[in-house]
């Protein structure tokens, strides 16, 4: 007989010390009687890490403005560099967001629409807006004379920070609720990201962009409310409360 995932799950979770109390007792007794080979504590790591931080190497720099020369740039150039860096971050995030909702749509198609939970149409709607936001930022960077194909330092770090979200969404084994939990992280970040862009656009005098970004933020606020509600309903429903 072929084994199935369901049968596998019947065995249950084997992590934690209560899985095998006798062995756990031996493990704890051994560890507590052992003497570390050196004195100190976790603070030793911080000290060591500090040496590297002090070296001051950056993740990278913006095009035409190497990090080492930033001090020589005038005020306007500095402001533009920061704006383009954050626009690059939003661009990357919206591009990934589109793919995230594609993965969520795929999951929902396979698992079937669940009540409570998003409908296929609702996911498609959000995905479409993420794509529009990506194109909006793409145009904004071009208008400012930037290169939308550049991976800026903030875009790079946002990508690193978001790696786990994509891993959750594309794992065939993750549930709809687990995916929504990951999407909530994305939407919370996205909302704050747009708010910051609006402030930057405002302070740097890009009024038209500010208005466009406010529209995008209104969409994102709706995404956040929806994802938060679907997640909450899914979890409460699974807990039968």
């Amino acid at each position: 007989m072929k084994s199935t995932g369901a049968q596998q799950a019947m065995v249950g979770n084997r992590t934690g010390i209560q899985t095998s109390p006798e062995m756990a007792e031996e493990l704890i007794e051994g560890a507590s009687n052992a003497t570390p080979s050196s004195e100190g504590g976790p603070e030793e790591i911080a000290e060591y890490r500090g040496e590297y931080i002090a070296e001051g190497f950056p993740i990278g720099s913006m095009p035409m403005m190497p990090a080492s020369e930033e001090g020589e740039a005038d005020e306007e150039e500095v402001g533009m560099a920061v704006f383009l860096d954050k626009l690059g971050e939003r661009l990357a995030f919206e591009r990934m967001g589109t793919r995230l909702y594609e993965a969520l749509l795929n999951k929902c198609e396979m698992l079937g629409e669940m009540t409570p939970g998003p409908t296929l149409e609702q996911i498609e709607h959000i995905g479409r807006e993420e794509l529009e936001h990506f194109l909006l930022v793409n145009n904004a960077i071009t208008e400012l004379g930037g290169d939308p194909t550049v991976q800026t330092p903030c875009a790079d770090m946002a990508g690193v920070a978001s790696l786990g979200i994509m891993q959750v969404l594309t794992d065939p084994r993750s549930s709809m609720a687990q995916c929504l939990q990951a999407m909530l992280m994305a939407e919370l970040t996205d909302n704050d990201g747009w708010q910051l862009l609006i402030k930057l656009a405002d302070n740097l005098g890009h009024d038209e962009m500010k208005v466009e970004f406010e529209t995008a933020l209104a969409h994102e606020e709706e995404h956040l409310l929806n994802v938060r509600a679907w997640l909450s309903e899914c979890v409460l429903d699974s807990a039968q409360v």
Binding site: A9, R14, T15, A34, P42, V160
Partner: protein, 399 residues
């Protein structure tokens, strides 16, 4: 163990077929599968990786006759490795996989050390075991202190997390890493199977750490991987030096295939996940097919009878269970051993007997020891040391 490797012909090579879909099956569960299922996956990935490594090295050094059979078997071994390695799930992080690698190095080496008929080589295994045992402790400290996670969720209580021979004193000059080799003509077949198994496993550990070390952001993690990868390089040097260099390439190939049969059969015997067990069973048959092909080549090219080298039935397999008591006894009795040439000596005599290792170690550790720093004052605690409030934020934390 009753598998008659001369009578059982296994699956013929031309029937050993795959599809991409088949290679990439649903992975095992990090949470629900037994830790020893992961141990077997990591081990067998290492053995297949070595099969491919050995085959390429041989193809580069041999004349034309063996190139095609090597390439044919190597293609299958590569896909076997893929199917096995891809059983690890995506939620198993590189550091969690590392904890799994060290559990393999401890529990598999302990089983080998206990069963090894050659007392000198058994000593070599115990020597290496205490070093990998220390690595588990250092990586567990890293996981706790940098990632905020508990290594015991991976090892599932089977293996102790405490210092072994401190990693910082494991650094040795090459002169003290070579060992005496077994003599092929007289060695017990189990001795040979053990040596190739552990060598292959350690080689994969080295390669894995060298691949994932740069993926970590934290400098202490990057340094710890650099340091422990260096010990794994020493271990590969140690274990490969145990193998008789006078064996012909075909003899080595024959032995490698026999080792793979031996280990897949052992995995089959112990496996608790039925889906994974099917894979072990299938690949045991594949390896028997490879073994018989190489037996024919051995007869044809070397003009020798495989029965000179291989036993009719395979010895008892590796014992996939906790070896806590054995490891603790070894720790108590042998933690202070150091290498001196091909032999072992007490640490008090190391300065006189192994001056090259002392000089090398002092040089490597002269700007600090990552393994000591990461585990300064560290004692594993269930649920991480934050339960004991060992944190920069401990002052003023309530509860």
């Amino acid at each position: 163990m009753t598998l008659d490797i001369f009578r059982e012909k296994g699956t013929p090579l031309d029937k050993q077929l795959f599809t991409w879909r088949e290679l990439v099956q649903a992975p095992t569960s990090k949470l629900d599968d037994d830790a020893f299922t992961r141990v077997r996956i990591i081990l067998m990935n290492g053995l297949e990786s070595d099969a491919v490594r050995f085959s390429h090295a041989t193809a580069r050094m041999m004349n034309g006759d063996l190139r095609l059979p090597l390439a044919k078997i190597r293609r299958v071994e590569h896909h076997q490795q893929t199917m096995v390695n891809w059983l690890l799930p995506a939620d198993l992080s590189p550091l969690e996989t590392t904890i799994g690698f060290e559990q393999v190095a401890i529990e598999v080496t302990a089983s080998v050390a206990l069963r090894e008929p050659d007392s000198y080589l058994a000593q070599v295994y115990r020597f290496g075991l205490l070093e990998d045992f220390d690595h588990l402790y250092r990586f567990s400290a890293l996981m706790d202190r940098v990632m905020g996670a508990d290594a015991n969720n991976i090892i599932q209580n089977y293996t102790d997390i405490m210092p072994g021979r401190p990693t910082m004193v494991e650094h040795r000059a090459p002169e003290d890493d070579l060992r005496e080799h077994y003599v092929s003509a007289t060695a017990d077949p189990l001795t040979k199977l053990h040596a190739v198994t552990i060598m292959a496993s350690e080689n994969q550990t080295h390669d894995y750490y060298m691949t994932i070390g740069p993926m970590f952001a934290d400098p202490i993690a990057r340094q710890l991987y650099a340091e422990i990868a260096s010990i794994e390089e020493q271990h590969v040097t140690q274990y490969e030096s145990m193998i008789d260099p006078n064996e012909s390439p075909l003899e080595k190939w024959l032995l490698h295939e026999a080792m793979e049969v031996y280990n897949y059969y052992g995995c089959m015997e112990y496996e608790t996940n039925p889906r994974v067990k099917e894979i072990w069973t299938r690949f045991c048959d594949y390896e028997l097919g490879h073994l018989h092909m190489v037996m024919d080549l051995f007869k044809e090219i070397d003009g020798r009878d495989p029965a000179e080298l291989l036993p009719q039935t395979l010895p008892e397999p590796i014992d996939y269970q906790s070896h806590r008591q054995f490891v603790r006894e070894t720790l108590t009795n042998e933690v202070d051993l150091r290498a001196s040439g091909t032999q072992f000596t007490h640490k008090d005599e190391e300065a006189d007997r192994s001056p090259l290792s002392i000089a090398y170690r002092e040089q490597m550790n002269s700007e600090g020891s990552p393994s000591e720093i990461v585990a300064a004052g560290y004692q594993w605690t269930p649920g991480t040391e934050l339960v004991e409030k060992k944190s920069a934020f401990a002052k003023g934390a309530s509860a």
